[in-house]
């Protein structure tokens, strides 16, 4: 099964972590990104994600392959939500297993950083004041 996935239903961290388990892996590091109730001083009610799926999947796989090449890990996985999410929902889950914790921490961090930087997925925040807006990070509103 592919290491990078998109999901339009709730993520199951326990099942995902299970996929990373191996008898030789002493360390497993996971990152969960959850929907916060605030951003840049505004109260967030819920949000929505759109993905350009074919390219997101290809770029996500490239990032996982880079993590495998750079760090002494056994496995790495990432699943990103699409669709509508509520406060507290998991938006993205990353996990990396390795014999030792250095590699697991470094790989997990690398994957989430690159996912946020490169994968064609966009977040639409819906605010308490009735406004909403697609986030296209670089400070300029669009």
């Amino acid at each position: 099964m592919s290491g990078f996935r998109l999901s339009d239903t709730a993520l199951e961290p326990a099942a995902l972590a299970q996929e990373l388990a191996s008898a030789s892996a002493g360390a497993c590091v996971t990152f969960e990104g959850r929907v916060r109730n605030h951003n840049e001083g505004k109260t967030v009610l819920r949000l929505g994600y759109q993905a350009y799926a074919p390219l997101a999947l290809a770029e996500g796989e490239r990032i996982l392959a880079e993590a495998q090449a750079r760090f002494a890990i056994e496995r790495a996985l990432c699943v990103h939500r699409t669709g509508e999410l509520a406060i507290g929902d998991i938006a993205v889950w990353v996990g990396a297993s390795a014999a030792h914790r250095d590699a697991a921490f470094a790989a997990c961090r690398y994957v989430i950083d690159e996912i946020k930087r490169r994968v064609p997925i966009w977040k639409n925040e819906f605010y308490a004041d009735g406004a909403s807006g697609w986030l296209h990070p670089d400070g300029t509103p669009v």
């Binding site: 350009y52 064609p120 977040k123 670089d138």
Partner: protein, 79 residues
Amino acid sequence: MQYRLLYFASLRDRTGCDTETVASAAADPRALYAEIAPRHGLNLSPERLRVAVNGEFAGWDRALRDGDEVVFLPPVSGG
């Protein structure tokens, strides 16, 4: 030539459509964006966009062929 365009995020909101087919003489994504941006009122400059052609990242001067799927990608905000 005919191109298939997909729109995401704020570009989808502006254009009001997920996808459209356009007949155009534009030879590369740069010319194609210059053509459609005024029509849809797209105000993101090319410097802030990336381009994908047929599901892979591409340059603004990539030679387009009839039937290509072209996507102008606004800055991403996943995670």
